[in-house]
């Protein structure tokens, strides 16, 4: 009886699993297969099997170390700031004030805008001739002439991170808000009665109960941060130089500019493994089983 029920369960979920497999597992396996061959589109008649040759070539390439560092710095800054700011904003939204309900809706607008549109908006904001940011700084007397922010390697990175935070922070804040609202009020009261300060309340009551949400936020934002491509493509094109060229940019460049499908696939697999390693690290550090 139990076996029949089990088989029936599998049968019911089989169509969904099959569909998902076609659009996720098959492309993944195909990408792995592609990464094992030397496929250069401008040499269409030779596609030799090279095993891990593409991986070695990519790891030893002129761009890998620099772009890996750029990616880790970009993702690190984005994740930290999105998480911290998201948490801060969620506390504000959780406070009872007149327009908090409306703000909770409005705050999602940046997140709803596609990265490409977001990139264009921020490229215009930082424009060296007519950008609003320059206009503001000039009006306040902070600069005596407009600055070309996107042509400076360091500032270009900061501009990208700023655009990323603007886009992603709202979603993090909504997730944290949901987590905050699930914390029982009695625990706050109990802590205060025991003489706890606001910091104690946060440290011993709120933070432990927010850990599951925190895990979701950092995992999600890490994935977004490491795989960000469209924002970079639109705002800086990977420049100036290679200062904003992330691994995702070179994955695109290998495939569509250099026409090397094998290396492009290898780089994308490496990117996926990097994300997986970081997620495993998160899970171990945050240690959810200690919460309850």
């Amino acid at each position: 009886m139990f076996m029949r029920e089990q088989r029936f369960s599998y049968l019911l979920i089989f169509p969904a699993v099959a569909l998902i497999s076609i659009f996720t597992i098959y492309p993944l396996l195909y990408a792995v297969r592609t990464s094992l061959y030397d496929i250069v589109l401008s040499m269409p008649f030779m596609k030799p099997y090279v095993g891990v040759g593409n991986y070695q070539a990519v790891l030893g390439s002129y761009y890998f170390r620099g772009s890996l560092l750029n990616t880790l710095v970009y993702a690190g800054m984005s994740v930290c700031l999105v998480t911290l700011l998201g948490l801060g904003v969620s506390f504000l939204l959780n406070s009872p004030f007149r327009v908090s309900g409306v703000l909770r809706i409005l705050i999602l607008f940046p997140w709803a805008i596609p990265f490409v549109v977001s990139g264009v908006i921020w490229k215009w904001i930082f424009n060296s001739s007519y950008g609003v940011f320059n206009g503001l700084l000039y009006t306040l007397g902070i600069v005596d002439s407009y600055v070309s922010w996107l042509s400076h390697p360091f500032y270009a990175k900061l501009c990208l991170v700023t655009a990323h935070i603007w886009k992603e922070m709202p979603f993090a804040s909504i997730l944290f808000l949901a987590g905050l609202q699930a914390v029982p009020r009695e625990l706050f009261d109990a802590c205060r009665v025991d003489g706890g300060t606001s910091w104690s309340v946060f440290r011993y009551v709120i933070f432990p109960l927010l850990r599951p949400v925190l895990l979701v936020v950092v995992i999600y934002e890490t994935m977004i941060g490491i795989t960000t491509f469209d924002l970079v493509y639109v705002m800086t094109g990977g420049g100036p130089g290679d200062s904003t060229s992330l691994l995702s940019w070179y994955t695109y460049a290998e495939t569509f500019k250099f026409l090397n499908l094998g290396k492009g696939a290898a780089l994308s697999i490496i990117l996926a493994l990097l994300i997986l390693a970081i997620i495993i690290g998160y899970i171990r550090v945050i240690r959810l089983e200690e919460v309850y």
């Binding site: 040499m43 269409p44 042509s151 990977g238 420049g239 500019k257």
Partner: protein, 436 residues
């Protein structure tokens, strides 16, 4: 028996008539893609072409110039229907080697006859392994433009003839407060024109070459390539006459800033002069002029963008190939003895052309002189040279070279290191492609 025979004959006649009717009504659809320039003009040209050939319908799509190459590659890979399209001399080797586009003379032998009327650098740019792959959409040059009002204000009667004069005039413009950055370029990392501008600077030096006849890079210290990069480095860092924003600008950004009167000098594609001197577009129309490319040789890059036919079209069969031939001939060749479409681009948009007989057309000469100078243009065209190093791996190397140029300009690495790395990467690619 007789009735049956008559019936059979009638059926056959009806079938025959029906087949002819079907054949006569058979419409061939061509899929045409281009980058987004003058889209309304392109659509109008397509309407006129369809009116001339009612059984050919053209399905047209346009894409941003910045993304065009990558989108074209995706279309080739996915076999997205594409029969005729825009191409460029710097992609020809790559696309022809991948067998994505086909030699036109194999399908339309008459097209070979056009070559003697095309500018030599244009023919060179459309030829791969000795075969003609395109008919010109337009051909143009990277030219030197200047703001004559700014120069007058600074006390100069003539534009600079050499790069040293350009630096000296720029210093004066800067000192007098006429403009903060007299020189501006479109050197964004994703701007494909940047390598053409850089190559033009190389050509402006005596014996200026990027590669030798065996495609070995000539990037040694104190060579023309070194001098070109040193000029840019000093313009940006030493004299501060080059706008740092140039490293983030595409062509459109540059033309907007130049047209707003922010700079006195630029190197850019010639057709932009028509827009700059168009009163409907800018308040400063009439202030901008063309001069011979400053340098020892006054040489510059001449390039060609062309119409080509894809392998996908060939696979669709003879009717489609014939239709493509008609399309290519209408858009890039002659109709009733005239280069109708290239002439229209020249008259309405100021686009340059590879079809040399158009320089003898009084209408074209008058149109050019409205915003430019046909004599200087003709003289510059004689000195224009095709880009060197056109190989299937040029595009790959180009991305790397742009990064190295940026890094040298930003003082992240020395000029010597930038050129040394670029030369090594070129040689590595050459060996890889040569080995295979």
């Amino acid at each position: 028996m007789l009735r049956k025979s008559v019936f059979l004959v009638v059926v056959l006649v009806v079938l025959g008539l029906g087949f002819n009717a079907f054949a006569a009504d058979k419409t061939i659809e061509l899929n045409f893609i281009s980058w987004s320039y003058g889209v309304e003009t392109v659509k109008d040209n397509i309407s006129k072409f369809e009116a001339l050939y009612p059984n050919i319908k053209v399905s047209y799509s346009d894409f941003s110039w910045f993304d065009y190459h990558d989108i074209a590659v995706q279309r080739f890979l996915a076999n997205t229907p594409t029969d005729v399209m825009y191409g460029s001399d710097h992609w020809l080797q790559e696309w022809a080697a991948a067998n994505w586009i086909v030699p036109l003379e194999d399908y339309f032998p008459d097209f070979k006859n056009y070559e003697k009327e095309f500018a030599p650098y244009a023919v060179e740019g459309m030829t791969y392994q000795g075969k003609l792959y395109g008919l010109p959409y337009y051909a143009d040059m990277v030219v030197f433009l200047y703001n004559k009002e700014m120069l007058k204000k600074a006390g100069f009667d003539n534009p600079p003839q050499t790069l040293d004069e350009l630096v000296e005039q720029s210093k004066v413009l800067k000192e007098k407060g006429i403009c903060k950055y007299p020189l501006a370029l479109c050197f964004a990392k994703n701007e494909g024109q940047s390598i053409e501008i850089f190559t033009s600077l190389v050509y402006s030096f005596a014996n200026g070459n990027m590669f030798d006849a065996d495609l070995n890079p000539l990037f040694e210290k104190d060579g023309a390539v070194y001098k070109a990069l040193k000029f840019l480095y000093e313009a940006l860092n030493t004299y501060e006459i080059l706008d740092p924003a140039s490293l983030t600008w595409g062509e459109i950004d540059l033309v907007k800033s130049f047209g707003a009167g922010n700079h006195a000098f630029t190197f850019v594609n010639k057709y932009n002069l028509a827009e700059l001197n168009n009163p409907a577009v800018t308040n400063l129309a009439g202030q901008f002029s063309i001069a011979l490319f400053p340098g020892e040789t006054h040489s510059c890059v001449g390039f060609v963008r062309f119409y080509c036919m894809t392998n996908m079209a060939v696979k669709r069969g003879k009717d489609v190939i014939d239709a493509c031939g008609k399309f290519l001939n209408y858009f890039g060749g002659k109709t009733d003895g005239t280069y109708v479409v290239p002439k229209r681009w020249a008259l309405e948009k100021g686009l340059g052309f590879a079809q040399l007989p158009l320089y003898d057309d009084p209408e074209v000469v008058n149109a050019i002189n409205q915003w430019g100078n046909v004599d200087i243009e003709k003289e510059q065209a004689k000195l224009a040279r095709a880009k060197q190093g056109m190989t299937p791996f040029y595009g790959t190397w180009d991305i790397f070279m742009r990064e190295q140029i940026h890094k040298a300009l930003l003082k992240e690495i020395s000029i010597e290191d930038a050129l040394s790395a670029s030369a090594k990467y070129w040689n590595d690619l050459k060996q890889k492609f040569g080995k295979k």
